[in-house]
Assembly symmetry: D2
């Protein structure tokens, strides 16, 4: 049968999507309020309980490959499942498809050696361990511009010696191992020459020097500064090819951008549902809020932006599944969705008024949680810059 | 094989899309500048020449059913073809898939009798005749609110007598027949009771009373006021069921909204290409325009909005193909695309500066052409109102 | 000398403005970081220390009348002084011109009896006491629509008995007395019939039933629910005329809206300065951030919106000073400034990137603090509704 | 008396403002519809009739100095008068305060010699002659970046020989003399070295080579390309100092920006009045348009942006009056007002629906007229760039 534009999912994905929705509604929403505001420091036991509840329903690690213990969903199939998971900020954590572990599983599955997979990937998929990805450095180091990478790894007998400083490393505090990107060739500003290293949490010379307080509070472990001072790692710690770390990081980045979008889309839907319910149940000036034109405008704009976001995510997911790469489409999607989600939640807050900015509803938290999404994994401006450069490159002058 | 989200097209649609692109580039762009600004009053001979050029390449009437002489594309397949056609404002006219004829073909194919199809549809598909759709009335008549319909058709011996006044009837001046919506039951404000009539241009009592000057100038025949004074039409002029005109008009509306989006998306792409080319070829302050951050931001935003619009159109087209109806999704798509296209063209003008507001480029015209799109086929506000009402209706209160 | 448009200030206001700037820079910024994030619960001693520091420099209670111990500034003169104070979220508290006390001083000065002024106003101006204003009720009570007022005060021997429930009462937890608005005539929905009562914190029957956690954290005492259960107050507790509470509350509202704008404008300027400094000191992709076009666009938009906000505030202040009332202009100003300040701070966060969402800078807090400003003192939508109604009322049909 | 923020006008300005309002209402609005759409080519006789009508009421040349025959208003006093004049696109032309003559009068009054004033300024103020300002060149010549100036004037015996090409020269077709900016020193890209020349329309070697069709149509004479081929002008044609043309052009630019804002603000008010009247008189879905929330939102946003624009204009005008220069404030005002006016008119179109895009109302024309305002006198992006650079320059690092 020939290919033709289609938006339907196969039965098993539909079942999984529905099962995720039920899991969130029946299990997660009831525990959410106890955990929310405290996700930076949820206990290991509580996390394992959540994993167990997800595993019982067959919902653990949906994005990880089948052969390594996950549900093996491709990007398209991840879209509806991660959106349902993201309906609660606790959902992705419970199902072990939250950042940064989810992206790290993807990376390990692609570039790790067989031994590394057994040692690092398998327990990570099972939720027995946690990981983090240490790329970002204080300016003028690696950030929007990865080539600015300053942390270095020097060849020494039997391994490498890492020196440098990383920050905004999400999950470092709770990570059992760190994937550290360090320069093994060239100087800050050079386009290549990075390598990736698997560094166990107790590696001498690596230390968490600070937990950074931030606007958001739903990432397990929060965000930390990590220092490497003559931190030695043996040869088998190299993840992927030496000097090819930038390309490998890119492997991680495109799908990771997209899974962020999927999860946050769930948060946007949550906000819409809260605001919609509120607008139906409250009266002001003798009318239901939901019958006032300005509220209807906000409701409609929420729906428009959620629908547009969801179709863009599917478009990018399809391209990633089929082509393996989709740098322009994932960049477009990341910019659009991160900004749309922000507006959706802002409107939800506005519709709910005073109660919208209180913790009585989840909106005040969501308002805090989504703002960083326009910055991490590349600020909107960096993506727009790259999008425009690609446009110029591909432009053929009109006759 | 089970269904799964897909964005690819079958080979024949890809070939047709490519053929349309070539037709526009090779044939239409070279004659466009002679016609542009004058499309309200292009001669019949010139129009038939364009049709012939399209027919030679197998590109005439892509949206009309195969059995009635068209190319028989479903909504999804129409999307890329009409986008290519819309790359020039002359393209859809040349290929006989411009409004309002294209929507009228769709309507006739769905609800006309066999005799009506032979008499009205077949020559329309061939481009031998032109048509118009007379629904809108001066306020307080039918407009955003169709139920306000005031034009009436009274039962008389052997037929109906129509009285009323219509305005902003696109193409009336050049139409060989008018599809007139008139009330056959009830009073203005009632939800039902409309019927549709096929009125030949020489029907006594029907007159074009005024050509309305408007911001746009690319619709053949322009926009007119049409009056019906005791205009008699025989029984076989009724199109579809008596009293069921609102439902039938709705049949026309959903796909017509979407084909508008497809065509205007082509115009947006044209604007982007012009601005992109300009930004690459011009220098200011010692830099290429395309290398300035604020220009890059506008370029990227064009690309983001074009991509989002295109995916939304496909989403709605798929739903229409599969479900037969897609009122919420076509409304969402119409609002988003009409507003996005406007912004895309506005940015193109801004990037090109003084030359952007001159007729040296096509942007000044496009700027005028697309503005009405946020109003016709329902202003954005009317769609947002309906979108919000449907959201409220489908909301189930959260636990 | 005839009047003519002027934007200059007299010498003494300029000196006071400069003195405030120095006070914030020299005293407040150095203690701010210890207090920030904790303003909901700053100790009384710490607050009195701040007042003392302000008083020493002649900066205490700038908005209160001279005769009652304040600096007696009119609205225009308040504008630059409160903007400087607002440069730190601690500034207005230190100078005893923060909400809600500042508005309450204004109200007491206008409508309180001589005895009430001695007892309530004088110590409030000195900073010896704190107050709150209890108007807002849970829906369907008084909120955007004050007429929905449900809390009632019944005439009893020697006084009044108040029953009802208030929420989002800022500063209730730390208030020595509460100004409670209650209905003394008519039913919820009626346009008149409210009265205001001065209720001491230890009045039997009044209780703080809950502290409401919210997005913001810079209002001393936070926001609370307050219940009145057969709360008796004697006759001399009535503030202003019986049944005229709505009009009196309006007296408070217009200047209070405006002083909010003044203070938040200082916050916007702070955010701009932080982002500007950051953009000058950081490099990315080989350029200073401040030299990148997209950053320059954000910087310029900050400056444009700050300047427009400041001029609008002055316009409204002048009208209030001269006319006594400025309902349309203060509504316009409140909507514009509250939304502009939000955008300014959002851009500052974006420019600073990851560090912008951390507590290393003050931006993450400001981002949280200003969001409620689009809701309290009337959400933007309620103001827009009233603005439009006034436009319709004052419209004379064009010839 | 000490200075203090004031928004009132002296009596004579109030009278002049009122007289202008009456002139527009009583005289101009009735002839406007005959002229509109044709202002590019209004006859000289018709223009002189309009001037006469204005002169009879004492309203001719309000911006020109008293000693040269004008009303001698300073910038602040010009604001309300030019806003009233701009209520009709014909108003400023009638009162001889339209671009480009108005800016040229300002320039001549500042830098022309006594003889030049007698010969060029006096008849221009009287409306006996028309002028144009020839600065802009096709890229890569002078535009957003004046330093790119390519047109040159070479010293020859007894005068100068000008060579070069200008475009988008407004009013060239109807101008009796051209103020031409040409390079007398240095090369394109150099910061200085320009001079200005007064070139009579019949100067040999100067020719209008093309009239450029544009989106707008309300500038007398339209916009033209002008070529200089060995065009000789005698020594006394130099306007101002040799080599100091850039600085002198800047003298013209700041007030010219602001008078544009004043006039277009009148157009925005006109659009608001049309839309407001329409929304009061039309019903849809059983409600007045003016009672629908989404329409109220658009109405309120019009009012907010008009008010903010007007206060910004006054702020900049005051600064220009007092300081002589206000580069940052006029740039801020130009960006804000040009974009706000565009949005105001766009909303007016939207409120009026189909009739809004027809020539039945003036909105379709206004929609076309105001778009170029975001480009001419410097596109928004160029102004934002300069605004940001000034911010960086004036920033003192925070302690």
């Amino acid at each position: 049968m020939e290919s033709l534009v289609d938006f339907a999912f196969d039965d098993s994905t539909q079942r999984l999507t529905e099962a995720t929705r039920e899991f969130i509604a029946e299990v997660i929403l009831s525990v959410e309020s106890d955990l929310v505001g405290d996700l930076h420091s949820i206990s290991n036991a509580a996390r394992l309980d959540l994993h167990h509840a997800a595993a019982v329903r067959g919902l653990l690690a949906p994005t990880a490959p089948l052969e390594w213990g996950g549900l093996g969903l491709d990007m398209r199939r991840q879209a509806p499942v991660l959106e349902e998971a993201g309906y609660s900020v606790v959902g992705p954590l419970a199902m072990n498809c939250a950042a940064p572990d989810e992206g790290n599983m993807h990376l390990l599955a692609r570039v790790a050696s067989a031994e590394q997979k057994e040692r690092f990937l398998v327990p990570l998929v099972r939720g027995e361990t946690r990981s983090c990805f240490a790329m970002t450095e204080p300016l003028p180091g690696a950030g929007s511009d990865p080539r600015a990478l300053m942390t270095s790894a020097a060849r020494v007998s039997g391994g490498w010696r890492i020196n440098g400083r990383k920050w905004f490393i999400t999950g470092a505090k709770t990570a059992d191992f760190v994937i550290c990107v360090a320069r093994t060739k060239g100087s800050p500003g050079d386009a290549g020459g990075a390598s990736m290293f698997l560094v166990p949490r107790d590696a001498p010379g690596m230390a968490i020097t600070r937990n950074i307080e931030t606007l958001d509070s739903a990432m397990l472990g929060g965000h930390s500064e990590v220092s490497f001072e003559d931190c030695f790692v043996p040869d088998d710690s190299v993840l992927g090819e030496v000097h090819e770390g930038f390309a490998a990081a890119q492997e991680r980045l495109e799908p990771a951008r997209l899974t962020h979008c999927m999860r946050w889309l769930g948060a946007a839907r949550r906000a819409r549902d809260i605001a919609l319910g509120h607008s139906i149940n409250r009266e002001v000036f003798g009318s239901r809020l939901a019958d006032l034109g300005m509220v209807q405008q906000m409701l409609a704009d929420m729906e428009i932006e959620i629908t547009a976001s969801r179709t863009l995510v599917l478009r990018a997911a399809w391209e990633l599944d089929v082509e393996g790469h989709a740098p322009q489409t994932t960049a477009i999607t990341k910019v659009f969705v991160s900004e749309a989600v922000d507006r959706v939640i802002d409107r939800a807050v506005q519709i709910c008024g005073a109660i919208g900015i209180s913790n009585d509803l989840q909106l005040a938290q969501l308002y805090r949680e989504v703002r960083p999404f326009r910055i991490y994994d590349g600020p909107s401006e960096a993506h727009r810059w790259v999008i425009a450069k690609r446009m110029v490159k591909s432009h053929r002058t009109l006759a």
